[in-house]
Amino acid sequence: MAKIGFLLTLGPFQFENWETAYKIAKAAIDKGHEVKMFYYLDGVYNPIKYQTFPDMATLPKDRFAELVGKGAKIIACGICVNARGLEKGKDYIEGVVVGGLPDFAEIVSDVDKLITL
């Protein structure tokens, strides 16, 4: 079984990257692989827990909460979080940790494969 890292630099809704990242990560976990994600730049908007959109049965935050529930580790870049006014991620879904680029460096050291989206 492999460890797969994800670097996600775009936010929810506007671009398709969060969906692709979720779908690959979910398939990976279901096959028994380990998933570690780092949210960088607009990627830090993904796990805001108050997302609500009548047209969408399952929101980005629900998708990522599902991954956390399945054991994915998710770290968001603190400088990016604070720049965007997300106050150290206080409105994040449970399980998402705010860290820094040294955490990303550690993910890079640790994983077998790395996907950027």
Binding site: G100, A105, V108, S109
Partner: protein, 116 residues
Amino acid sequence: MAQKNVVVTMNQAPYGSIYYTEGLRAAVGVTSGVDENKVAVVYLGDGAYFTILGVDRKDTDRYIGTLRKQGSRLVVERESLKEKGIKEREVAPEFEIVSRKEVFELINGADFVIDF
């Protein structure tokens, strides 16, 4: 946990998006862990515009300085320069001009290839 050789490709022009600077911050970041991962930065396609001598690099100088000090290579693909009509003498001295074949070899020899 193991040291990794990482190539960061820079594919976007300054300043329409911030990838030109945040990509460099991430490249420095990659080397910041206990395992001291190695990094090389490669400018491709529209990314080549960043290597033009006259680009305002006040946001990025310190990242470039750090990368150079630790011996990380900063290269720009000759074919990309040509496609954009950038002459080699217009390229700032901190960027090494290499062929696409050399870029391929760099990427082929890396553990991970991250794009910005």
